[in-house]
């Protein structure tokens, strides 16, 4: 009984916590082919989510959609409070907080191992330094200007919000009758044994147009804020040399951890697959990401090298890193995963703890899949 209450408490705790990644109705189509079909899931900080499923089921596409390497057709992905599917946000800044490891390693062939690891931290560090300096330089004059024109600017913001709210109201009023009409034209037809619902195309178009207008106006309302005075930003490092030094030190620390310090100045083409993949993992770690995405990290490796890579991933998981892993290694999934998703035909067919999922599968497709894989 005690256990049960504790469990309930834990689940409640998890429910109330803000998810790190919140995927809502994610849909991806390649032409007419539906790869992901309205997938919704939440990934919390500290979780290690393992995704399994038959090939062609959409698991890799799902992972690649998480950091928008594939543009989703529809749906939303919230990561750390930002909607990644929104074209207005700076996707590069979001991606800096998400590490990704690929099946084919994808180390930069023209750079040495050390430069592979330090390239992004140095570029990003310099960018931040420049931004901080620019901010600090303009701070005083901007704040003076803002204080002087405060009323005017605030009034402008107010009128912009009011205008867009009016647009929403007007279009909502227009939308209501159209929607009623649209519902009336609903027809269900049967084709190739499947039931299809169709509507009048003209009305659908009209409805979509209005909905887009409303959505756009809502987005503007969401995004319009009163301008705030700039505050002093303390740059992390004083100059570019320090950034390079810190990045190199961090890279050497990471290389030492995987025991490849002596490979720091060689090019990736001289390394074995296992070494490449471990360096790729370290390269992602060097950005201090909040979440790591692994896209079949061991599928392109020789069997004898799979172990070393999985060990490293396990270590990182134990340190509490949030991870999403697509894999075919069922033993590994069972051991490391705190949650397993079974993705089949573009849908999450089963979502459970590894123990439950492997020992007591509910979905018939999952049963079939496991019987094939675990043989």
């Amino acid at each position: 009984m005690n256990d049960a209450t504790e469990n309930a408490k834990n689940t409640q705790e998890i429910e109330t916590r803000e998810p790190l990644i919140d995927v809502r109705y994610l849909t991806k189509k390649f032409g007419d082919l539906l790869v992901l079909d309205e997938i919704s899931t939440k990934i919390y900080a500290g979780e290690c989510v393992v995704i399994i499923g038959p090939s062609g089921g959409g698991k890799s596409t799902f992972l690649r959609c998480l950091n928008v390497l594939e543009d989703p057709t529809a749906g939303e992905i919230f990561f750390d409070g930002d909607d990644l599917t929104d074209l207005k946000i700076d996707i590069n800044v979001c991606r800096q907080k998400m590490g990704m490891v690929f099946q084919q390693f994808n180390l930069f062939n023209n750079l040495t191992v050390l430069k592979n690891i330090t390239l992004a931290p140095i570029i990003v560090g310099k960018k931040r330094l420049r931004a901080a300096k620019r901010n600090n330089r303009k701070m005083t004059s901007y704040n003076k200007w803002l204080a002087k024109n405060k009323d005017k600017i605030y009034a402008r913001v107010d009128s912009k919000i009011a205008k867009n709210k009016r647009i929403i109201e007007e279009n909502n009023a227009l939308l209501a009758p159209v929607e009623v009409e649209w519902e009336k034209t609903k027809q269900t037809i049967e084709r190739k044994g499947k039931l299809l619902t169709t509507y009048d195309p003209k009305l659908t178009k009209q409805k979509l147009k209005l909905v887009t207008k409303i959505e756009n106006a809502e987005r503007v309302v969401d995004r319009t804020h009163y301008p705030e005075p700039k505050t002093y930003i303390q740059p992390e490092y004083a100059n570019k040399k320090e950034i390079v030094k810190a990045a190199e030190k961090n890279a050497m620390r990471l290389l030492e951890r995987i025991g490849l310090v002596d490979k720091a100045n060689v090019y990736p083409s001289t390394l074995s697959g296992g070494q490449k993949q471990r360096i790729a993992i370290v390269r992602a770690l060097a950005m201090n990401p909040k979440v790591m995405l692994f896209d079949e990290p061991t599928s392109a490796l020789d069997p004898e090298m799979v172990g070393e890579v999985l060990d490293l991933i396990k270590q990182i998981a134990e340190e509490g890193m949030t991870m999403v892993i697509v894999t075919h290694e069922m033993g590994f999934a069972k051991e490391v995963g705190s949650r397993v998703l079974f993705i089949d035909q573009g849908k999450i067919a089963e979502d459970n703890t590894p123990k439950e999922l492997f020992e007591n599968p509910q979905n018939p497709r999952l049963k079939e899949f496991l019987s094939k894989v675990l043989m």
Partner: protein
């Protein structure tokens, strides 16, 4: 005119010969630099994801540019540049910019296609990896993809450079001036000598051919060195 006399005569005007060679090389070098820059920019525009209207428009312009430049003869382009577009340059005391720009624009179109093919040959995973660590598209291209693409297309680029060096002989159809004094390129000098001393015409042709050949041989040497330097990140076979 005997053979030795011809040689002596050519030797006596060696200053003019080397000067004309220098002018040919100057035009070629300027054109290569301009062509390379235009080529990289055009290739990036052609390859960029067509996400906004600006890129789409630029892409159309790049396509038009490449089609027109590759579809018309170099000499026609040079003459149009000389007597129509940069016509105010024509009367300047130093009008060597005309052929440099003309050949640069010409070479840019070819370079664009060469570099585009190089970029296409780089594994798309490299771009994905660059984007996944949070680099912007342009940074990924400049720091990761283009260095790898250039390595692939070095032989083709040198092909283009060699063709360009030899094609600068077309410049003999226009009147070049530097500092108000008329100058000739290597082939132009030959024509000039044909008028001044018709008996040496053939000898000058052979001299020009030999000098072009030497330049191309040197370029081939440079190409070899560059290829060797660039292959340090490859596994030796």
């Amino acid at each position: 005119m005997s053979f030795s006399e011809t040689i002596t005569y050519i030797w006596s005007v060696r200053g003019l010969v080397f000067e004309s060679l220098g002018i040919s090389l100057l035009i070629a070098l300027g054109a290569i630099v301009i062509g390379f820059v235009i080529g990289i920019v055009m290739a990036l525009i052609r390859i960029a994801p067509k996400t906004n209207v600006l890129v789409k428009v630029l892409d159309k312009i790049a396509q038009l540019y490449i089609t027109v430049i590759r579809g018309t003869p170099t000499m026609v382009q040079l003459l149009i540049m000389y007597s129509s577009i940069m016509v105010s340059f024509k009367y300047l005391e130093t009008n060597i910019a005309v052929p440099i720009v003309a050949f640069g624009i010409n070479s840019g179109a070819y370079m664009a296609e060469i570099i585009r093919s190089g970029i296409n040959s780089v594994d798309v995973g490299q771009i994905e990896a660059g984007r996944s660590v949070g680099l912007s598209w342009v940074t990924t291209m400049c720091r990761i993809v283009i260095p790898q693409a250039i390595k692939v297309v070095v032989p083709t680029i040198f092909n283009e450079i060699i063709i360009l060096v030899k094609e600068t002989s077309v410049v003999s159809v226009i009147a070049l001036r530097m500092g108000g004094v008329q100058k000739w390129d290597l082939l132009g000098l030959t024509s000039k000598m044909a008028v001044a001393k018709p008996a040496t015409y053939n000898a000058f042709l052979y001299t020009a051919a030999a000098l072009y050949l030497i330049i191309v041989l040197l370029l081939t040497l440079v190409q070899k060195c560059i290829e060797k330097r660039m292959s340090i990140n490859e596994r030796r076979h």
